[in-house]
């Protein structure tokens, strides 16, 4: 039997998740024994227009001109997986969404701001353009989780994503709570699966994987304010990776 055909694509992103996959070492080699990678810009020059078993899409959907390409991938692929925070939720790119277009463009590109390829709309998850079957969040993705999802799909299992807070993983490691260190951490409502990698390295969680379902935003913001942040700044901090989620759920006053 032929191995499943797998391809990787990228849209508005830093391609860091692809780099992360190339850093998998042995796990990538194990993966290569189970699947046939037919397109992957970071590691090979070949491309394909063949049907695919799994298409992995990195990056957010932020330009109309990307729509035909996304639709083409969707048509060819049995399974589409949005991987990385940009693809899963809009990610860090969505930080611009509440600002007027010209403002950040001038800030970032100056004289080149009017170049046609910089013409963008709001940074949205891939699911805003085409149907996505599974999302793997994270900035970048967690390699173990990535491998587990692929493994589950190959074996006909429904992939599972944690829907509990980063605090679970952090407490199991007995890290000093960042709040105890007078820092502000989004761990209590951030979606786990990363192994609490940031708090384990003395950096507060910024919820790059988005939030758990039905989080208590109001109490979280209050905890941040009680830790010394102004409310506007607390909201800005919480928007870092999850602007689309927050803007849809909170109307900042």
């Amino acid at each position: 039997m032929d191995k499943p055909k797998v391809a990787f694509f990228d849209f508005t992103s830093c391609e860091g998740c692809q780099v992360e996959i190339t850093n998998f070492d042995q796990q990538l080699l194990n993966l290569l024994e189970a699947v046939d990678i037919v397109e992957f810009r970071e590691i090979m020059k070949e491309t394909t227009s063949d049907p695919l078993d799994i298409a992995f899409i990195e990056g957010s959907f932020s330009r109309d001109q990307d729509l035909p390409g996304l639709k083409n991938i969707r048509q060819r692929a049995k399974i589409v997986i949005a991987y990385g925070s940009c693809a899963a939720t809009g990610g860090i790119n969505a930080l611009k969404n509440h600002k007027p277009d010209y403002q950040y463009k001038m800030e970032v590109y100056g004289a080149d701001a009017s170049m046609p390829h910089l013409e963008t709309h709001k940074a949205l998850p891939i699911s805003a353009a085409v149907k996505v079957d599974y999302s793997i969040p994270g900035c970048p993705i967690n390699r173990d989780e990535f491998v587990r999802v692929v493994s589950d799909l190959l074996h006909g299992k429904e992939p599972y994503l944690p829907n509990y807070a980063v605090c679970i993983e952090c407490k199991k490691k007995e890290n000093l709570c960042r709040f105890d260190n007078r820092e502000v951490c989004l761990g209590p409502i951030a979606r786990a699966g990363c192994g609490a990698i940031c708090p384990s390295n003395n950096v507060p969680c910024e919820a790059c994987r988005g939030f758990v379902d039905t989080p208590n935003y109001a109490s979280m913001i209050e905890v941040m304010v009680n830790s010394g942040l102004k409310k506007e700044y607390a909201l800005t901090k919480a928007r870092m990776f999850s602007a689309n989620i927050l803007d849809n759920n909170l109307s900042p006053k």
């Binding site: 189970a34 829907n163 509990y164 605090c167 007995e174 000093l176 409502i189 039905t214 109001a218």
Partner: protein, 355 residues
């Protein structure tokens, strides 16, 4: 068992532990980033015996945060299962009375007459417990209210009991194994004066507790007040659903199981890991989630520990260590919630025509 009590100088105690290290993994309290954790001891000098409390209790060395239950191998047309067999002998050092009680609570959960959890039994049987009478009253702890401390008043379920007497420890043995380990040391017997001193320390400590909880009729009161406004209000205004309370609680026993399957499907590790009733999906069954609100989940935590546990296991599920409220980002205090219910018992008030 007649108990044996000796005096051991602290220097001698340390060198004895170094000797024990040859036959046991030593586990004890050490400092980590300004707080204390139970950890595998490589250097006996790293032990901090006058610690106040640890983030996780020593349960994590008997009921592991994540552990393999078995490995399943594909073989011909079927499969074989290999259970976990070898666990190292370990000595838990400096276990405070609350945490000792917590382990005994877990024993009731995992070592039922009708079913004994294989992994738990294996580790428990290979664990010696050296308890330590606690002399640190934390602002959040209330073991004296729960009858679980600060001194150990039990006579079984553990091996040694230490009481800090300045330059030396009063060391008592409560098991045959402990007796055998102490025998070669030829320690001087402890005399009455030491026990008097111990009793004096104990009485003095009992008066120092800041937090308390009146457990009279507590079970009934909580069960009668499932619709008390305190649950909804606390869940809405404060609870983040972060599960910290259940992670640090030394009696929480819930776990979930997942399979880690190799790519070639030849091998599968079946792993269990701590789960939490505060997680949204914990109570999800086919077609429904019977604790989909944060209120229901928070109430479950408090009423399980302080009420339904009693019917289930014949003791409270709360041993008064105060970890849940300390590590809660909004410091939700289950004793305060219980007190609020006690103060305004809605069921009674309704019956009396007041609410």
């Amino acid at each position: 068992m007649p108990k044996d009590a000796f005096v051991i100088e602290k220097n001698q105690f340390s060198s004895w532990l170094k000797k024990l290290q040859e036959s046991f993994q030593l586990i004890g309290p050490v400092e980590k980033e300004g707080h204390f954790v139970f950890s595998l001891i490589e250097e006996v000098n790293d032990l901090v015996m006058d610690y106040d409390t640890t983030m996780l209790g020593p349960r994590k060395f008997i009921f592991l945060p994540e552990e393999k239950i078995c490995t399943i191998y594909q073989k011909d047309q079927g499969f074989t299962i290999k259970k976990v067999q070898d666990v190292p002998g370990q000595l838990l050092i400096g276990v405070h009375s609350c945490d000792l009680h917590a382990i005994l609570v877990l024993d009731k959960v995992f070592l039922l007459k009708s079913f004994q959890d294989h992994n738990y039994r294996l580790r428990r049987e290979n664990t010696l417990i050296m308890a330590l009478n606690c002399t640190k009253v934390c602002p959040t702890c209330f073991c004296s209210s729960m009858g679980t401390g600060p001194f150990v008043e039990l006579d079984k379920g553990f091996d040694f009991l230490l009481t800090d007497c300045g330059e030396s420890y009063l060391i008592e043995s409560f098991s045959e194994k402990a007796k055998d380990l102490l025998l070669p040391l030829n320690l001087p017997q402890a005399d009455d004066s030491l026990f008097k001193k111990k009793e004096q320390l104990f009485q003095e400590l009992k008066g120092r507790f800041i937090k308390n909880l009146d457990t009279t009729n507590l079970v009934q009161t909580l069960l009668e007040n499932q619709d008390h406004p305190v649950w909804q209000r606390t869940a809405e205004e404060r609870c983040l659903g972060c599960t910290n309370c259940t992670m640090v609680c030394p009696t929480c026993f819930c776990f979930n199981v997942k399979d880690k399957i190799s790519f070639d499907l030849k091998e599968c590790d079946r792993v269990r890991y701590w789960d939490s009733c505060q997680e949204l999906h914990f109570a999800e069954v086919h077609g429904a989630n019977y604790r989909s609100s944060r209120k229901a989940r928070l109430r479950q935590f408090v009423t399980h520990k302080l009420a339904t546990w009693v019917e289930q296991f014949g003791c409270f599920g709360c041993i008064g260590c105060g970890r849940c409220m300390y590590w809660c980002p909004t410091h939700i205090d289950l004793t305060e919630m219980a007190k609020e219910v006690q103060k305004s018992n809605f069921k009674r008030m309704r019956e009396d025509g007041y609410a």
